[in-house]
């Protein structure tokens, strides 16, 4: 018997060494009521906004804003229009394009959302941009950075009670706060959130497009367009932080099938998109 156990343990250890890393994330149905975390106070929201602003500043310390006023205005107008429909009403959303050829978009807590110039260049119409905007808004709605980092006004731990850290002004508190900001930056640019969370966000984005009257399949086409690009450094962050595009497209197709919605349903606004982004 002892040999059998030793053998089984050995097999497991060998098996683990070749196992692809999968971020542990509990399916939602296993979460208990006290883990659903829906009781956010106004103070919590204020802290989230403050934290998101700091994270946005951290991003802008690495990437410049794209110097294209027309495009920035267009993104802001479109983003705010979508946010009024699908965003959290207590937040003021901010949208901007950063000057990098990376293909990605980033959502900071509190409603600070960035798109890369590289992503804008891959898109072909407004429906695709609307899909990406909705996707990022839903990251904020779902608190995909807030929850894992426990961004709260008051908490039982040093990292969760950051209102005091923001307010105290002590060096230690500021160091803690900056460490948390750096963690969030790592989450966006290095680690990513869970696969389940990304797929849930895609689902919400597609449903939003249908609700808004945009062509939902354009969002899927945008993902396919990224997939068709060479796997170079510009796709590196996206590949690292998101599930495979094949999986995302498959998930979207399954959703469309379950909702019984056909392709090419809704507006694309290709001309308006091109007129606002043609200078890139």
């Amino acid at each position: 018997m002892r040999k059998i156990f030793i053998l089984l343990f050995g097999l497991i250890i060998v098996g683990f060494t070749g196992q692809e890393a999968v971020v542990a994330q509990e399916p939602d149905f296993r979460l208990r009521l006290h883990q659903l975390d829906n009781d956010y106070t106004q103070e919590d929201i204020e802290v989230e906004i403050e934290f998101g602003r700091n994270l946005a500043a951290r991003i802008l310390s690495t990437y410049k804003l794209l110097d294209n006023k027309g495009l920035q205005n267009y993104i802001t107008l479109l983003g705010n229009g979508i946010a009024t429909q699908v965003g959290r009403p207590e937040l003021q959303y901010y949208f901007a394009v950063i000057d990098t050829d990376d293909i990605n978009a980033y959502a900071c807590p509190g409603g600070y959302i960035f798109f890369t110039k590289g992503a804008i260049k891959v898109m072909e119409n407004e429906a695709q941009l609307a899909g990406v905007i909705a996707h990022e808004i839903w990251h904020v709605n779902f608190r995909h950075v807030v929850k894992p980092l426990k961004i709260r006004a008051k908490g039982d731990s040093l990292t969760s009670g950051i209102a005091a850290a923001i307010g105290s002004g002590t060096a230690t508190a500021r160091v803690l706060f900056n460490q948390l900001t750096e963690k969030a930056y790592q989450l966006l640019f290095e680690e990513g959130i869970s696969r389940e969370a990304e797929l849930a966000t895609d689902t919400a984005a597609v449903e939003s497009l249908v609700t808004l009257g945009y062509d939902w399949s354009s969002y899927r086409d945008y993902l396919r367009a990224i997939e068709s690009k060479p796997e170079n450094k510009y796709r590196k962050v996206l590949s690292k932080t998101h599930p495979s595009i094949t999986l995302r497209v498959e998930s979207i197709n399954n959703l469309a099938q379950s909702l019984n919605i056909s392709d090419e349903l809704g507006k694309k606004n290709a001309n308006r998109y091109k007129s606002n982004t043609g200078s890139l």
Binding site: R2, A24, E26, F29, L33, H34, G155
Partner: protein, 409 residues
């Protein structure tokens, strides 16, 4: 497993020599390797009757099913202390016409554990006390009316029996619907027993005896587990485990004065034990974020010819009244692995038990506090004198008041 018992049963021959009552298996009775669920481990798990194999998503998962660690909610610390753990065993009319009642009370921490998520793995370390009894008894029995030769019987004993287990566990989530885990517990059991008996005869003569027993046992227990969901919201857990003995030494000192003659004895025995293989199957249903229902079936397959394979069943439920308050309940069996006790064949006793649990938890954002009770009872037969001359009815009740705290960070 019972070689220590056999050694001690030699003492029972005294009874034949003295012709009076010396309750000779008392040293081993409370060192209870015959039941597998004397202490329900953990807080949430214990208050759900131990039906936790398919749940196991906190640090107690290291003990119940390490595969469940993959579904834990962030890093966490948790510990439970049994504020009060008592066991009362009654042997009906075993000392002439009087009942022999043995009480045990103990305050013990039954569990402490922590989980840390590192990359794709969930690591845990847990400290578990799956069984603990402390018994102190000073009794005088006046049996002059019911016994032909004995006037008084004095019994003074002190017993302590505790099993400590500590070990790491690791779990990997292989897919959205499947996880696998393993744990390895190092176990140390220490059993100490001192017993003094004094018999006063009606002719004013007296006999006395004293014995001291110490048992130390070292073993390790690997456990392998999986959890998977065939369809939501159902989860299934499966574990297999077996303990392996490293060493087991029984030391016994004995002295007696009997009819004016004295006897001294001291011995030490190195013993072998073949522990049972435990296979546990659990099912858990999560019909809503407020409700959890679970069931475990634990099968212990022994190769010891003197013992039997045993199956225990546990049922448990959890209901969230709101986001900060939850209640739990459970039912469980704690069956005896010894064969039936009759006048023709008896291995000390046979006592099947069943129990119920109730619990309440209060939650904050990052912490929880649990209060719970575990009550079990059972009845059976016992061979009090070790030679099957008197088979008596026996009853046992066990009560635990537990409190526990958990912290997510």
């Amino acid at each position: 497993m019972r070689t220590d018992i056999r050694a001690i049963l030699d003492l029972c021959k005294l009874k034949i020599l003295l012709g009076v009552f010396l309750l000779c298996f008392s040293p081993v009775l409370l060192a209870d390797p015959y039941h597998y669920k004397n202490v329900l481990v953990g807080d949430r798990a214990a208050t759900m009757g131990g039906a936790y194999n398919a749940v196991s998503d906190d640090s107690t998962g290291a003990y119940y099913n390490p595969a469940g660690l993959s579904f834990s909610y962030g890093d966490s610390l948790s510990g439970s202390g049994n504020a009060y753990h008592s066991t009362k065993t009654t042997y009906k009319e075993s000392i002439a016409d009087k009942d022999w009642v043995r009480d045990s009370t103990a305050v013990l921490p039954s569990f402490f554990g922590m989980i840390k998520k590192i990359g794709s793995a969930d690591l845990a370390i847990a400290y578990v006390i799956p069984d603990s009894i402390i018994e102190h008894q000073d009794e005088q029995y006046d049996i002059s009316d019911s016994h032909p030769t004995v006037a008084n019987y004095y019994l003074s004993l002190h017993s302590e029996d505790r099993t400590n287990m500590i070990g790491p566990a690791i779990s990997f989530k292989m897919s959205d619907s499947f996880s696998i885990g393993a744990s390895l517990f190092y176990s140390y059991r220490i059993y100490r027993h001192q017993q003094h008996q004094f018999i006063v005869y009606k002719d004013t003569s007296a006999d006395t005896s004293y014995e001291s027993v110490k048992l130390e046992e070292y073993s390790y227990m690997p456990k392998i587990g999986i959890q998977f969901t065939p369809f939501e919201p159902l989860y299934i857990g499966l574990t297999i485990s077996k303990s392996f003995l490293l060493s087991r030494v029984l030391k016994r000192d004995y002295s007696k004065i009997e009819s004016g003659d004295y006897t001294l004895f001291a011995g030490a025995y190195s013993q072998e034990v073949d522990y049972p293989i435990q296979v546990s199957l659990g099912v858990a249903a999560y019909p809503s974020p407020s409700l959890l229902l679970a069931m475990d079936v634990d099968y212990y397959a022994t190769t010891d010819e003197d013992l039997q394979s045993v199956t225990n069943i546990a049922l448990g439920g959890e209901w969230f009244l709101n986001a900060t308050n939850a209640i739990r309940g459970g039912l469980f069996t704690n069956n005896d692995n010894r064969p039936e006790c009759t006048e023709s064949s008896c291995s000390q006793a046979k006592l099947d038990m069943a129990g119920l649990t109730l619990g309440y938890s209060s939650f904050t954002r990052t912490s929880s506090f649990t209060l719970g009770i575990v009550y079990s009872t059972g009845s059976g037969k016992a061979d009090v004198y070790g030679d099957r001359s008197v088979i008596v009815d026996m009853e046992r009740e066990s009560f635990t008041l537990l409190f526990a705290a958990g912290y997510n960070y």
